[in-house]
């Protein structure tokens, strides 16, 4: 009873506050300030605090060359892989949304799996599958694909493919089928209808999915590090020179790091801007019409073979390699590794600590994203400070998304170094927050935009105060988006390796431990690694399924 009275009082107080202009604007301003001070500016300013060291690398042409090649590798891989993602992901999304079989909902869930497997575990899994003696290589009498270029591309394809599928499934579900049907009644074959009508209308989603896959590929560090072999891309190079130079030649290390990070950031921003500006002007090839040829592509046989290829790609290149690590994990259950692990002896004590660090970190980051992200999303969606401010912040919020996370981590580290009092864990929180915040704000902004303003106004005319409107209308209607945003933030934080490696020296998160084991920085047996990855996957899966269960059927109106 007392509790209820208290709650009522708090509610009344918040209502009273929300009716006044000042507290409302203070909330929004605070959200903006926190965003600028914690998320946007540190990664940008950090680089400039060490900008003077950059000339160090100009005196080292060999190192400079190595850096440039690594950066080029990063962009080539990201551009190519994202293109393949879209080519393979669209038919998959098509199959999920348009297929008639009831098995497709299972396929829908399976498509998310590479998403939640922490990338370090994913990298190890792929290494085993494509290169290890027990994987597919066994069929070919030796290692099929050695670490290097192709394996990195396969890896990046594996973890960015689900992003494209997710975005395109959403877009296809929202798409009004009427357009495609109209095209059919006008005489277009199914394939022509899709090419000339559906795809052009879905172009913004295609571009968005490409950009997301691109950014993800550019950022990934932990898994890439595992499968890279001798090849270096940007993040791997940054990590390698840290190991090589951080102690022996710190100023050269800083110079090379500043240079590489800066180039990565500037080029990815430029590419992002280019795609944003010219992507919307890009005319897909809709002008030409080849009715008879496309008619052949629309035959049942062609459709069946397209679906088969899609499924083969998904299972053989994405799903099975992702879960291949389950094999050694399974073996580990029957040898002494399991008891070692649970007694926490040897290398396992660090592992368990890292798990606690990872999940505590992810929890805190998710909570913070929610608290500081929500007012920002509301401000952008409802244009509280006018259209221009909203558009500006809408773009700014996305900046950390396209900055390679290791570069972001490096820069953050430089920035916060000057404040010696900031403990390492807090630094980690800041880094992960910067990386995950955009995901949350994006998904919430979209959710708020979907709620018609009439809804809010109706509540106001019925006597609800602004805070009441938020609590009783906005929150319930966006519950599903909040939770799905939280899932993304949480899994992304658990997976993140690059930024973590960049900012910490002593603290270890789970992916860092896995990378160290695989790279034999810490001696670990295949059994250990398998079990370590297995536990990580099972935990992530459990959390995902719990959240799915909790959110089941809720918040969809």
């Amino acid at each position: 009873m007392r509790k209820r009275v208290n709650r009522r009082k708090i509610n009344d107080a918040l209502n009273a506050l929300s009716s006044k202009k000042t507290p409302k604007y203070i909330t929004y301003l605070a959200a903006i300030l926190i965003f600028l001070a914690l998320i946007l500016l540190p990664p940008i300013l950090g680089i400039f605090t060490k900008f003077d060291t950059i000339q160090q690398i100009f005196n080292q042409p060999a190192l400079m060359n190595r850096a440039l090649i690594a950066i080029a590798n990063s962009f080539i891989i990201a551009l190519l892989v994202s293109a393949f993602d879209v080519i393979a992901g669209v038919p998959m999304a098509w199959l999920i949304t348009r297929g008639k079989s009831r098995w497709l909902s299972i396929l829908d869930t399976l498509a998310d799996i590479p998403f939640i497997v922490p990338t370090a575990a994913l990298g190890y899994s792929l290494l085993l599958f494509w290169n290890g003696p027990e994987g597919i290589s066994a069929l070919f009498g030796g290692s099929l694909i050695s670490p290097g270029w192709l394996l990195i591309a396969l890896l990046h394809f594996t973890f960015s493919f689900p992003i494209v599928v997710r975005v395109m499934v959403g877009a296809l579900l929202d798409y009004k089928m009427e357009f495609e049907r109209a095209s059919r009644t006008l005489g277009a074959s199914p394939f022509t209808a899709v090419r000339t009508v559906t795809m052009p209308i879905l172009r913004p989603s295609l571009i968005a999915s490409y950009i997301l896959a691109f950014a993800r590929s550019l950022s990934e560090t932990g898994a890439t590090f595992i499968v890279a072999g001798l090849l270096e891309n940007g993040p791997v190079f940054l990590q390698n020179i840290k190991n090589e130079l951080a102690v022996s030649n710190p100023s050269l290390y800083e110079g090379a790091t500043v240079f590489t990070s800066l180039v990565l950031i500037v080029v990815s921003l430029a590419i992002f801007a280019f795609i944003r500006i010219f992507g919307s002007r890009l005319r897909l090839p809709i002008k030409g019409f080849w009715p008879s040829f496309e008619r052949k592509l629309s035959y049942k046989k062609a459709e069946a073979s397209r679906n088969s290829i899609t499924l083969i790609v998904f299972f053989l290149i994405v799903l099975i390699p992702s879960l291949f690590v389950a094999l050694p994990a399974f073996e580990a259950l029957f040898n002494p590794t399991l008891s070692e692990a649970f007694s926490g002896s040897g290398i396992w004590s660090v592992y368990w600590q890292s798990l606690v660090v990872s999940y505590a970190l992810a929890g805190i980051v998710t909570l913070l994203s929610f608290v500081i992200g929500l007012p920002m999303a509301l401000m952008i969606a409802r244009k509280r400070f006018g259209r221009l401010t909203s558009t500006t912040f809408d773009i700014l919020v996305n900046v950390p998304l396209i900055v390679p996370s290791i570069a972001l981590g490096v820069s953050l580290k430089f920035f916060w170094q000057s404040f010696a009092f900031v403990p390492e864990f807090l630094l980690l929180v800041f880094a992960h927050l910067a990386i995950t915040y955009p995901y949350f704000v994006r998904s919430m902004t979209a959710a708020f935009e979907r709620i018609s303003l009439d809804m809010e106004e109706a509540a106001r005319t019925l006597g609800a105060k602004p805070f009441d409107v938020f609590r009783t209308i906005m929150l319930p209607l966006t519950k599903y988006s909040i939770l799905s945003g939280a899932i993304i933030v949480f899994t992304r934080s658990v997976s993140e390796t690059g930024a973590t490696l960049a900012v910490v020296t002593t603290l270890q998160t789970a992916p860092v431990v896995i990378v160290n084991w695989v790279k034999q920085v810490v001696p670990a047996t295949p059994s250990d690694i398998g079990l370590g990855c297995g536990i990580l996957i099972v935990l992530s899966l459990a959390i995902l399924l719990t959240l799915r269960f909790v959110t089941r059927g809720k918040g969809r109106y």
Binding site: K176, F179, R181, R184, T185, L186, F289, S292
Partner: protein, 366 residues
């Protein structure tokens, strides 16, 4: 050009039977409407004819050709969607030219066609506009033009006027009919608005719960409804319950609830059977209480509303039944609220139906 014929057509969505063994023939060059409340299956039937969905069983013919396995693009139909479905990324010209292009028409030829149809819908000056720059009425006309340019001889219209405001709707519906007639097209028009269907159709099929209840010209449906449902759905009707007191070769005496006896004609009804007499509001005449004649119903004026051309009386009968009477205001002697009156009607102008098993309200519910 061909007839459109469906035979024993059935379509289910999960457990819901959207279309239940439907048979229908639409004649060549006919302007035909599918009319019914929402959920009656009229749009499903239209989409089946178009090939946008596939039937569970039954056959669809366009002319002599069986088309239920033919994809929509090969049925030579034009479909106008309720939302118009104009492609947002194409201009008016590109939208209208879409059909000729995907059908690989000669370029010169398609240009001529597009000009012609745009001329026809009087939107020739908006060639380079995008759909979002057009008004609802314009979009509707472009949607029709687009269907025509693709060479459609059969026009399938799914609530084509539903998105327009009342005034535009009234104008365009006559335009649509005129255009279809001028071009010798067969048109099948889906609507839930009975006045729309009545005013433009050659024939109408009234549908209910996945079945066709009655097919006929607007006059036939109004004058000779074959069921309580049609009598209620087309126009307005009073329903009076009673039982058959005498039955002699279709000539009936019905004892209404409250005891009044009236004379009417109806087939298939036997003595003592429960029945419902259906009387259109304009069929009743209002007389002074002293009036003596056939078919008298006594009551009191409860409400009067003046509607310009007509006066509408609400009369409470002695049986407590309430009936509505509509009279032309200029020729009518006026009564006041509270006046006792006698209602009368001609036996030939009313209809008698057996009392429905499911009850009257269930039977006429939309």
């Amino acid at each position: 050009m061909p007839d459109v014929r469906v035979v024993n057509l059935t379509k289910k969505f999960g457990d819901i039977v959207a279309l239940d063994n439907v048979n229908l023939t639409v004649h060549d060059k006919e302007y035909f409407s599918l009319l019914g409340p929402s959920g009656c299956g009229k749009t499903t039937l239209l989409r089946l004819i178009a090939g946008l969905i596939e039937p569970d069983s039954g056959e669809i013919y366009i002319g002599d050709k069986r088309v239920d396995n033919v994809p929509p693009e090969d049925r030579e139909i034009g479909f106008v969607f309720q939302t118009f479905a104009l492609f947002p990324h194409m201009t008016v010209w590109e939208n209208v030219n879409y059909g000729p292009k995907v059908k690989n028409f000669d370029e010169k030829e398609s240009e001529t066609i597009v000009h012609e149809v745009l001329e026809l819908v009087k939107l020739h000056e908006r060639l380079s506009a995008y759909p979002n720059e057009l008004s609802g009425g314009m979009m509707q006309r472009i949607a029709v033009a687009r269907a025509l340019a693709a060479g459609a001889k059969i026009l399938l219209l799914d609530e084509p006027l539903g998105q327009l405001d009342a005034k535009v709707r009234n104008e365009i519906r006559y335009e649509m009919r005129k255009m279809a007639k001028d071009l010798n097209l067969t048109a099948i028009h889906v609507t839930h608005d009975q006045s729309e269907a009545m005013s433009i159709s050659d024939r109408i099929a009234v549908m209910k719960k996945g079945k066709i209840v009655q097919v006929g010209t607007p006059q036939e449906l109004y004058m000779k409804p074959n069921s309580l449902f049609v009598a209620n759905f087309i126009g307005e009707s009073n329903f009076l319950e009673g039982s058959v007191a005498e039955a002699n070769n279709g000539s009936l005496v019905i004892e209404l609830r409250g005891g009044a006896k009236v004379h009417a004609f109806g087939k298939g009804l036997a003595k003592d059977e429960r029945a419902i007499v259906v009387i259109r509001p304009e069929v009743l005449t209002v007389e002074k209480p002293s009036y003596q004649g056939k078919n008298m119903l006594r009551g009191v004026v409860e409400k009067i509303s003046f509607e310009g051309t007509f006066i509408r009386y609400v009369i409470r009968l002695e049986s407590e039944d309430v009936v509505i009477v509509i009279k032309p205001s200029l020729t009518e002697r006026w009564f006041d609220i509270g006046d006792s009156i006698t209602l009368s009607f001609e036996s030939e102008k009313v209809h008698v139906f057996a009392y429905p098993e499911a009850g009257l309200m269930e039977e006429i519910s939309v």
